[in-house]
Each structure stands twice: as C-alpha cells, then as structure tokens.
C-alpha cells in the first residue's frame, strides 16, 4: 500500500496523485510515440482508430458517466465534425483552423440539442437523441451540395506546419496529440466547479439546484462539451476513413460509443479509453482468430455483433464498473497482497444514477 502524506492543498489539486502516476503515464506516452517506428502500418492504423474512438468515448463519458445524461445520437456529432472539417479543408482552409472549428461547431450543435431536451432523462432522452441522430443522418444524405450525398466525399489531405498528414502514421500522431489534449481538458474540467456541478446533477438534481447549480445551464454545457469533443474525433475520423459516406454515421455507431462507455466503466476517463480499445480491437481480434477457431465458429455469420452483445450483457450483470472496475480490483489485489479480503472482489451492486431509468 502507498500512503500519501499531503502537506498542501495545492497537492490535492494536481492532475496526478503522486510521482508514480507521473512516471507511468510519462512512460505510456513515450511508448505510444515510439509505436509507429517499430510496428507495421496495419497496427499503427488500427491504433489510430482506437485513439479516435477513445476521444469520442471521453466526450460521451463526460455526458453519460459524469452528468448522467444518455445520448444515442453521438454518431451524428461525429458526422458533423467529420463533414465540417472535410468541407472546410476542401475550401482551402488550413487543418489547424478546421480542426478546432469542427469541434466548436459541433459543440454549438450539442448545445442546440441539449437545450430542448433539458427536461428529459432516461428513456425519453435516449429516444430524443436517437431521433436527432436520424435527422442529421438524413441531412448528410440529402444535402448534396455540401456533403455529396450518397456519392460520398473524398477527404483532402491535411497539412500541419507544412507536413502532410498522410497514411496511418500521420493520422496516428495527430489523433494521439488530440487525445492527450482532450484528456487534459477533461481532467481539468473534473477537478473544477463545472465538473463537480455535473456530478451533482448526476447524483441528485434537486439538491444540485439548492446548491445554486443552474440545471439548464450545466446540462446544456455538458452536452456542448461532450458534442465538441466528439466533433474533434469526427474531424480525425474523416482522415481515418478518407472517404465520407452518410451511412457511416448511423445508429449502430452511436450504440458502439455507448458500448465503449458501459464496457469501459461509467464515471471514469480511463474507462473510456479501455472501452475504446475493446470495441475497436475485438473485431480485429476475431478477424485474426477466424481461421484458427475450431468447428468453423469463426466463419459463422453475425459472430461479431453477437459477441459484442454478449460482452455488454455480461458486463452489466457481473461488472457494472466495467473494465476499469476490473483494473481497480486487480490493482487493489496486488497493493493489498496478501491481505485481500473476500469483499474486495465481490460483485458491485451499486449502479450510477444514469443506469436507472427514471
């Protein structure tokens, strides 16, 4: 066990808890920076995809895991970010401008959807955001002049400081930089009054209100921030897929984002990243294993969606804290060794408010 001896309030405000954290996260960043130098193009590309989904996951986590509002329309925000970025790039606007603009514009869209849905929660909010996703999807299909409709839209190659962001490696580094930036923003958010207000809204609206928290303002803000971050992911997603088609941003993608948040573990940024790794790499893992599985299981149609469904159900039943909860338990086991108590591994029975349908 590590016992922290704190000597100033400043210490409690740091983004990291102790020197060990700083060392390990630093090492992780270093490893991530080295990966493209030692790994093949395919793996680098896949990891780039993981980062992009992790960014979107962090965005959705702030909304679902911390504010307790559900959204089944986040694919639409990803799409808005992707199209904004690509359309502006095609107009000759530099990438370093289009990227933040995509985020900001998506944030505005998020505020616009957040505002009228303020009184909703649970199922009703899920349906409202689902409808929003459907509407935006239709706009992508029909607004030929801007999106190119079903013909699609070839995404121009962006330049950062005169260097073209091309291929898997380019997308990898840009996505990694944005992911680190978004995590930094989120950590800041969560240790300042906005983040606390969000958690307060999640746990008890009525007492949040009597603490002076303007529910309308903070719910809208949470929607805006969440959408904005997802918009950033969208801008990168455009470069990841290189060719935008409206059917990429359907409800299945939104459900994938929700899976990231739930499987990763509600109410933890680390969970969003672990969830993204899971959601992106499971299909690849299945593809690689396909031929070596016995009895031809690998060639069964619908293997991937059914595995996703199974995992989601198992997680909700047995591990409501998700992969992050599993990680924390494992860590606790090693820290407490050999004094692990029976109760420390017991199934979590407490659910975050957002899971209860009100």
């Amino acid at each position: 066990m590590r016992y922290l001896f704190r000597t100033s309030y400043r210490q409690d405000l740091r983004a990291w808890r102790h020197g060990g954290d700083l060392f390990w996260y630093g090492l992780l960043i270093l490893v991530c920076l080295i990966i493209p130098l030692v790994m093949g193009e395919f793996y680098v590309g896949e990891l780039g995809g993981v980062y992009i989904f992790a960014i979107a996951g962090v965005g959705l986590m702030l909304l679902v895991g911390y504010t307790g509002l559900i959204s089944l329309g986040h694919a639409a925000f990803l799409g808005i970010g992707a199209y904004t970025n690509s359309v502006l790039l095609a107009q000759g606007v530099p990438f370093l401008v289009t990227l933040p603009v995509s985020g900001l514009l998506t944030a505005v869209c998020g505020a616009a959807i957040g505002r009228p849905t303020l009184r909703m929660s649970g199922l009703y909010l899920a349906i409202a955001t689902l409808a929003f996703g459907g509407i935006v999807g239709t706009v992508f299909q029909k607004w030929n002049a801007v999106t190119g409709g079903f013909d699609g839209f070839a995404v121009p190659t962006p330049y950062v400081f005169g260097i073209s962001v091309e291929g898997a490696t380019g997308v990898y580094y840009v996505s990694f930089a944005v992911l680190v930036f978004v995590l930094w923003l989120s950590v800041n958010l969560l240790r300042s009054p906005i983040g606390r207000a969000m958690v307060a809204i999640r746990d008890s609206e009525v007492s949040a209100q009597s603490m002076g928290i303007n529910l309308a303002k903070y719910k809208t803000l949470a929607f805006a921030i969440s959408a904005g971050i997802t918009g950033l992911a969208g801008a990168l997603f455009a470069h990841y897929v290189r060719f935008l088609a409206p059917d990429a941003f359907d409800v299945l993608l939104s459900v994938q984002f929700v899976t990231i948040v739930f499987v990763g573990g509600l109410g933890s940024l680390r969970g969003a990243i672990l969830g993204a790794i899971f959601v992106r790499l499971l299909p690849q893992f299945i593809a690689i294993m396909r031929d070596s599985l016995p009895f031809g299981i690998g060639r069964l149609p619908g293997l991937e969606p059914s595995l996703f469904g199974l995992v989601l159900v198992l997680v909700i039943l047995f591990q409501p804290d998700g992969i992050n909860g599993l990680w924390l338990k494992t860590k606790h086991w090693f820290e407490a060794y050999p004094f692990k108590r029976q109760a420390s591994g017991r199934r979590q029975k407490s659910y975050a408010r957002s899971e209860r349908l009100r």
């Binding site: 405000l13 906005i194 307060a200 949040a208 002076g212």
Partner: protein
Amino acid sequence: MTALFEARDIAVRFGGIRAVDSVSFSVQQGEVFSIIGPNGAGKTTIFNLISRIYDTTEGQLLFDGKDITRAPPYTIANLGIARTFQNIELFANATLLQNLLIGRHCHSTVGYLSQLCFLPSTRRAEIRHREKVEEVIAFLDLQRYRDSLIANLPYGVRKVVELGRALCIEPKLLLLDEPSSGLNVDETEGMGFWIEDIKKDLGITVIMVEHDMSLVSQVSDRVMALNYGKVLAMGSPREVQTHPEVVRAYIGDVTEAEA
C-alpha cells in the same frame, strides 16, 4: 430586531388540496425557528416553497428585504439560503470532500475557459474553497471521513455531512428538514449541539422542521405548529406544546376520549 425572513399569507394548492393555507410567519435574525405538526401538515411543503422547488399559489416570500416569491430555485443559494433534506440528498458517488466543495458552487466566479485550462486563477479559487471546506470539516469534526465515498458512510454521519454541505454555502438562513430523523438518541443529542453551535458561533438563523420534541425544546427560540396546512399555534416551545389545539391535533380531543 429585524425579520430576516418573512412569509406573508403563503398558500399552495396541489389539485384540490390546499397543502399550505395562508400561512404567515416571520423569522428574526439569529433565532432558531421550529415548525412542528403531524405528518402531512405541510411542513416540508413550506420548505420547498422557501427553496423555490414549488411555486406558491398565493402570498409573498421576503428574504433579507428582497421579494423571492418568483426567484428561480438555483438563485436561492446565492442569496444565502441553504437547506438539508429529510431523506438525505447527498451526492452518493462522490467523496465527502467533493460533496462539501459542491456546496461552495454558488461562490465560484471563475470563467469556463479558465476552468477548462485550470489556469492559476482557478487554482487559487480552488484553494480558497478548500480552506473554507476544511473549516467546516473541523467545525463538524468530520476529518476522518474526508476522503470516504458518501455511499460507504453510516447514516448518522451522512446527516452531519449534509449539514456541513449546507454550511459551505455560508448561508444567512439555514433550513433543516428533520435533522434528527433516522438518528439514535445519542446522535440526536449531538445534532442538537451542532444546531446550538451554528446559532451561537456562526450566527446563522435556522428554520427547522422536526418531530423530536426534546430536540425542538432544546434548541428552538420559537415554534410554529401546523395542521392541514394551517397555523395552529406560535410561540415559545413550552406555550406551543401545551396549546389545546396542538394537543388535540396530536392526540385527539381529551374530552371526547373521556366521554
């Protein structure tokens, strides 16, 4: 003495039921004012009217010389009114420290951008809030629970935490909704001492809804008894407790019982 809070003929109807029916009272600066009455008398409804969760159908609410009858609920804390809830409305998945810091929300003035980037101004503000929170923690003797999750704390401690969260608002007026409900005799006595300390040391005016008459007599300066949304009696704890209307509301008509 000046009235810190005044309710003038307030009434609220839910459908055909008049939950509160033209109730008037004023609370003086620095006093502990208790509201008693049988279940369903409208005590908590009055609290919800003051903290603006419900809208009054008639009447006026005045606080500190300002009319708050139609003030939005989230502005009440900024004006200096804090409350606790009968069934504890803490933020269960956060630590005690975070709960108390949320109580500081109405005092936060740092801009959004500064918070997102955690600029030095945010850091300074956070340290200021933390110092204030630590004062409350020390005042209520909660040091050993500082980093515990609320979900893991015993009921009695949560009750005190909720009181602490309300104190973090630095209110002028504190509304306590059944501070002793669910507490054992010892804890109730402790709660009585906290309320006396809040009145004497912090100079905060308290309005309290309470069933435990020993606690009411211990701490209250004045008591108001309600039944069916109407005021039965108002005065010192002793006067109200022996008031024939109050006795009848609680235990029925004595003459009827004898007959």
